[in-house]
C-alpha cells in the first residue's frame, strides 16, 4: 500500500489529534471513568492504524521501526510487572507497609505523596494508588502491541511497486 488519495489524507490529518486525545484521556482517567489501559490503548492504536491506511505502510515504516515499538511494548510490560513486584519489595524495606504481589501500596499512606488519596469524586486524578500507573503501563503496552501487529502485517503483505 502506498497511501490513499489527498482527500483521505486531509481527513486523517483532521481526525487524528482528536482520536489520540480521546484515547489518552481514556487511559489517564481509567480509575475514574469507564475504560482503562486496554480500551484507551485500543483507541490510540486505531488512530495509528488510520494513519497507516491513509499514508501507506512504506511511509510509516520510514518514520518508525517495529523494533522501537517492540521496545516500547516491553517497557510497558516491565513497568507493569515491576509495579506488581514493588508490593513485595516495600514490605521488606519498610515494616509499616503491608503488602503482597499486586498490592496497592500507594493508597492511604503519607510517605510517598503521589496518588495516595482515596477516591472522592470523578474530578480527582491523584487517587487510586498504583492503578493509574498500571493503566499507563498497560496502555503503552497495548498501543505498541496492537500497532506493531498492524504495521508488520501491512508492511509484509504490501503490493510491490511497479507491478
Amino acid at each position: 500500500m502506498s497511501g490513499m488519495s489527498r482527500i483521505v489524507k486531509t481527513i486523517t490529518n483532521v481526525a487524528f489529534p482528536f482520536v489520540m486525545i480521546y484515547g489518552l484521556y481514556v487511559i489517564a482517567h481509567g480509575h475514574l471513568t469507564p475504560g482503562g489501559g486496554f480500551q484507551g490503548g485500543a483507541v490510540v492504536a486505531s488512530g495509528l492504524a488510520m494513519i497507516l491506511v491513509a499514508y501507506g505502510s512504506i511511509w510509516v515504516v520510514g518514520k518508525v521501526k517495529e523494533k522501537h515499538l517492540s521496545v516500547l511494548e516491553s517497557l510497558g510490560a516491565i513497568g507493569f510487572i515491576s509495579l506488581a513486584f514493588f508490593g513485595i519489595l516495600l514490605v521488606y524495606l519498610y515494616s509499616s507497609f503491608e503488602g503482597t504481589f499486586f498490592s496497592n501500596f500507594l493508597i492511604g499512606q503519607d510517605t510517598i505523596p503521589i496518588f495516595n488519596e482515596i477516591g472522592k469524586g470523578l474530578a480527582n486524578i491523584n487517587t487510586a494508588g498504583i492503578i493509574p500507573l498500571m493503566n499507563f503501563a498497560v496502555g503503552l503496552k497495548v498501543i505498541a502491541g496492537l500497532f506493531v501487529i498492524v504495521l508488520v502485517m501491512a508492511y509484509s503483505t504490501r503490493i510491490k511497486e511497479g507491478k
Binding site: 481509567g30 480509575h31 475514574l32 471513568t33 469507564p34 482503562g36 486496554f38 517495529e66 517492540s70 511494548e73 510497558g76 510490560a77 507493569f80 510487572i81 506488581a84 504481589f101 499486586f102 496497592n104 493508597i107 492511604g108 488519596e117 482515596i118 477516591g119 469524586g121 470523578l122 487517587t127 487510586a128 494508588g129 498504583i130 492503578i131 498500571m134 493503566n135 498497560v138 503496552k141 497495548v142 502491541g145 506493531v148 501487529i149 508488520v152 502485517m153 508492511y155 509484509s156 503483505t157
Partner: protein, 93 residues
C-alpha cells in the same frame, strides 16, 4: 447432504440446546435472589472505593483485586505480538 454438513448440523443442534437451557436458567436481571446471594459482588460494591481508592469499580477489580488476571492478559498480548512478528519476518527483504 455430505457427512461434513451433517456433523455440523448435529453440533449446531447440541450447542443450541445448551444455549436455550442456559438462557432459561439465567438469573433474573435486577432481582434479589436469596438463594444465590452474590456475596462477592456486594463486598466489592461496598469496599472497592475504600480499599483500592478508585472511583471506577471495574478498574479497581481488574487492576487490584484481580491483578494477576490482568498480568495474564498482558502476557497473551505479548505472545500475540511475538507470534505475528515471527510469522511475518520471513516475508520481508
Amino acid at each position: 447432504m455430505s457427512g461434513r454438513n451433517f456433523a455440523a448440523i448435529i453440533f449446531f443442534a447440541i450447542v443450541a440446546v445448551f444455549l436455550v437451557f442456559s438462557a432459561l436458567m439465567m438469573h433474573p436481571f435486577g432481582e434479589f435472589d436469596e438463594e444465590h446471594y452474590p456475596e462477592m459482588d456486594q463486598y466489592i460494591i461496598d469496599n472497592t472505593q475504600n480499599e483500592t481508592g478508585a472511583d471506577n469499580g471495574v478498574t479497581g477489580v481488574v487492576f487490584d483485586y484481580r491483578g494477576f488476571d490482568t498480568l495474564g492478559e498482558a502476557t497473551v498480548l505479548f505472545t500475540a505480538v511475538a507470534g505475528v512478528i515471527i510469522l511475518f519476518r520471513r516475508l520481508k527483504k
